[in-house]
């Protein structure tokens, strides 16, 4: 199974983007993001809090549809899925 993960803005700076991973069958969305984020502590900490829970402002999309961060742990990924992870910005 092959899944593409795209990070945006600050998350891209820290973790890169268009990352192709091959998660095990039955893997959940949160597992896939966590595995990539684990490659760089700063990137991980930007997305997850001390408890390893998604920071509340993080936005996740799967194939163009929003997945609530609290549901990412129970949302399975499938071959060909495209996942986008991004931080909204606040300045004006």
């Amino acid at each position: 199974m092959s899944v593409k993960v795209r990070f945006f803005a600050r998350f891209r700076e820290l973790l890169g983007t268009n990352i192709i991973v091959e998660p095990a069958s039955g893997a959940m969305l949160a597992d896939v993001i966590k595995e990539i984020a684990a490659r760089k502590k700063e990137g991980h900490d930007a997305i997850f809090d001390d408890q390893g829970i998604f920071r509340e402002f993080v936005i996740i999309m799967k194939n163009g549809r929003r997945i609530e961060t609290e549901d990412a742990g129970k949302t399975p990924v499938a071959d060909g899925d495209e996942i986008a992870v991004f931080p909204p910005v606040a300045g004006g």
């Binding site: 803005a9 402002f57 999309m61 606040a90 300045g91 004006g92």
Partner: protein, 245 residues
């Protein structure tokens, strides 16, 4: 009716959307929340486009550190109220429109009164708590809300039409942490121009609006993305779980 001067001033855009479109701009009243990074280009271009009434609200004084992006304000304005500086510049750019420049901090108690009878709100704020207040007024008054936000070389924008599209709180239910954000003036210009393009299209009834989509700009890559966004039925601002219902 337009004066000869106005017809001449708007000649090149009347070619695009006719006198009828220009009249729609002239009859419009747009509320701009903030006279900073986004509020500067938005107000300048709405003024020169001939939006008849512009209300612009800000509470701050011009600071030297604003001048890399807040192009409404000049070096000589340091220490002046942003609103006074905004009034001077916008009136000088287009004396045929009305500028209501209001020195105020937008809060829960005054937001509805400040927006008044405006037919659209441009989000040029730098924080989500105020954005959410404006979003709620837009929903209540059934008027569009043109969202934009920036950080560094990154920006985002979307157009919210109450009842038809997700509201700001559906799209971004939780604000990112408050910070002194890094920013370069061009990002404010670029996102401000997307917002302003949306206002002009909305008022002249031309083109397709940036609705149900969040536009994301990555200036470091010179790449843009669009994310489809959907209404959240349990949204606390526009959904069935709305406050007080």
């Amino acid at each position: 009716m337009f004066s000869e001067r106005e017809l001449d001033r708007y000649k090149r855009q009347i070619m695009l959307f006719g006198e009828k479109g220009q009249e729609r701009l002239k009859d419009a009243h747009i509320f701009i929340a903030g006279a900073g990074g986004l509020g500067s280009p938005v107000s300048i271009y709405l003024a020169v486009a001939g939006v008849g009434t512009i209300t612009i609200v800000d509470m701050d004084t011009v600071d030297q550190s604003n001048l890399n992006r807040q192009i409404l304000h000049y070096d000589r304005d340091i220490g002046r109220k942003k609103i006074e500086s905004a009034r001077d510049k916008l009136t000088a750019l287009n004396p045929d429109i009305v500028i209501n420049a209001i020195d105020a901090k937008i809060d829960e108690s005054n937001v509805a009164g400040l927006v008044g009878d405006a037919g659209g709100i441009v989000d040029a704020m730098d924080n989500y708590p105020t954005r959410y207040l404006l979003n709620e007024v837009a929903i209540r008054n059934d008027i569009p809300f043109f969202h934009g936000a920036i950080r560094g070389f990154y920006g985002q924008a979307t157009t919210i039409i109450p009842k038809k599209t997700p509201c700001l709180q559906c799209i971004i239910p939780c604000a990112p942490p408050k910070e002194v954000f890094p920013v370069v003036g061009v990002t404010a210009g670029l996102i401000g121009m997307i917002q302003t393009t949306e206002v002009v299209k909305y008022l002249t009834e031309e083109g397709e609006l940036l609705t149900n989509r969040l536009f994301i700009w990555d200036g470091m890559q010179s790449a843009s993305e669009e994310i489809c966004v959907e209404k959240n039925p349990s949204c606390s601002a526009c959904g069935t779980a709305k406050k007080g219902e």
